[in-house]
């Protein structure tokens, strides 16, 4: 089966600095992948390049077999949906109006039904007619997630299983809604959607994804199952932290508990001259 999304020697430069340096990655249709790495590793940049938002300086990106920037924006929007971080809405749109934007050109009762389902899915049923700017950060994040899910569902109805790209989707969510989000992502994954999420929280990454991609200073520093990637060696090398990985005894699943861990000396910054 051809991959849903792939990158070959992908490089993204800003000036002389390579934010993404020669990354080759192939993600199959229906996979759920977590992108992890320290601050500034290039996680969001990689996501933006995969989504077609920014152009590759060198190398190739393919989304469903084609460079995302060669699709028309509308055709691309039907094949992949993106949830960014910290979206601010400029005008007093209601929650329902923002979510309805995910339906594109649809009108009427179908839109209302899609919006109501999405509100229910993200646990915002009572917030339908509230001005989105008056909601808390976490509530706004869930409303934006609902919009993205509606876009994904509408696209999948037209073009088959799509790609869902999430940038720090859990950042402002409480524990309960983090679990809700994971359940939502799990449902998408089960119906064949490819999910790629930038995650800050390594434990959440291990819980959510069967595959973890580790980025470090713009390069690929690990790619595999949580057991393969979440090791003391990786944490030491990439995050500069030693002795933090523990394992849940029954399944052997790794988890990171910084209690008793030690921070190593500050790492040497890599040379990025491209």
């Amino acid at each position: 089966m051809s991959p849903a999304i792939e990158a070959q020697s992908l490089t993204v430069r800003v000036g002389a600095k390579a934010l993404i340096d020669q990354i080759t990655l192939s993600i199959g249709q229906g996979e759920a992948v977590a992108l992890v790495g320290p601050n500034g590793a290039g996680k969001s940049t990689l996501l933006r390049a995969l989504s077609g938002e920014i152009a590759a300086s060198a190398g190739v990106v393919r989304l469903k077999g084609r460079d995302p920037r060669r699709y028309s924006p509308w055709a691309l929007a039907q094949r992949r949906a993106v949830l960014s971080q910290d979206i601010t809405v400029a005008f007093p749109f209601t929650v329902a109006e923002v979510i309805a934007m995910g339906t594109g050109e649809r009108r009427g009762a179908a839109v209302e039904a899609l919006v109501d389902d999405a509100l229910d899915e993200v646990d915002l049923t009572g917030f339908r007619d509230r001005i989105i700017g008056t909601l808390s950060g976490g509530e706004q994040q869930r409303a934006q997630l609902a919009r993205v899910l509606v876009q994904l569902a509408c696209g999948e109805a037209q073009c088959g299983p799509g790609v869902l790209l999430l940038d720090e989707p859990t950042a402002s969510l409480d524990l309960c809604h983090q679990l809700d989000l994971m359940a939502i992502v799990e449902r998408c994954h089960r119906r064949g959607t490819t999910v790629i999420a930038v995650l800050h929280d390594l434990n959440l990454a291990a819980l959510f994804a069967k595959r973890i991609v580790v980025l470090d200073r713009g390069t690929l520093a690990g790619d595999g199952s949580p057991q393969q990637t979440m090791t003391d060696a990786m944490l030491r090398r990439v995050f500069g932290v030693a002795d933090a990985v523990n394992r849940i005894p029954a399944q052997g699943s790794p988890f990171v508990l910084p209690h008793g861990a030690q921070k190593l000396a500050r790492r040497e910054p890599a040379l990025h001259a491209g």
Binding site: R48, S51, G52, E53, S72, P73, W74, A75, L76, A77, Q78, A81, V82, S84, I87, T88, V89, A90, F91, P92, F93, T94, E97, V98, M101, G102, G104, E105, D129, R130, I131, Q151
Partner: protein
Amino acid sequence: MSGVTRAALSSPTARQVAQWRSATAGLVVLSILLLALLAIAIMAAAIGAAGIPLGRLPAALGLATGNIDPATLARDQLVLWSVRLPRIVMAILIGTLLAGSGAIMQGLFRNPLADPALVGVSSGGALAAAATIVIGDRMLAASQTPLPFGFLPAAAFVGSLAATMILYRIATRENRTSIAIFLLGGLAIAALANAGIGLLVFIADDRQLRDVTFWLLGSLGGATWAKAATLAPFVVAMLLALPFTVRGLDYLALGEAEAFHMGVSVERLKRLSIVMVSAAVGAAVSFAGVIGFVGIVVPHLLRLVIGPTHRRLLPASLVFGAILLLAADSCARTIAAPAEVPIGILTALVGAPFFLAVLLRQRSLVGL
């Protein structure tokens, strides 16, 4: 006005929002606005230095034959058809253009404080128009040919376009539009354009000076059917472009990246909006001078009633803008009759306090 402002500035509750934000409510509001425009147009036709009582209006319009003294009828018809109606039509067209470009600019810059006159777009147009009058006049003086009729609007369009594009470059970086930089950058562009106009005033002769002053304060005094006919295509172009911009402008409220992710061709939308705003403002400025604050007051008030969805906001703004400018122009030509108060002064008197009120409410947005 103060009552309206107070009511409009208190934020609506969730229930009010749900009541007014449907497609039906949008149509109801649009119908009410159209009826109000008709009523104000009839009033405007009746009042003025040479008044035409409402009873004589149908006859003067040729809609009815009453037993009116033929001399009075002839006078009424002359006043109505060659002075008042062209002026009413021009006020409607210019109000439409100014409010429409204000609403589009606000959507484009994701900023409820955008107004063409406030951020130098009108000044850019006025500078180009003034330069055409003063410099063009001198160059043509030798050959004794008058300035070609369409030349002034074209120059004003180019000036507005340049100002809009410079503003966009200044205010937008890495897909984000900074509201503070937008306002300050606009201020700088306006100051620069006004300095240029000042320089032209300095070198202008008396007759040119009168023309240039007219542009700076704004007036519909020179209204003719020919000018109205030149403005009409700009309004038609704006109406034709609306279906291609409303959805994109909604999505743009979430940011350029989000709009792109949802399938909007952002660059094309930006180009279309900038050209549309520049053409509309350039046309309005070239015939009526700089008239500020219509573009900010109209969409802001309407957003509070029917919500920010551009599919409803833009058509309503066009009609409300026509109402506001027609009402302002009617005041301008009657409150000190037979003298005329420049309309730009009137709109600024009402609009500037309104702008301050909006600014104070949005302080957190601007980061002050």
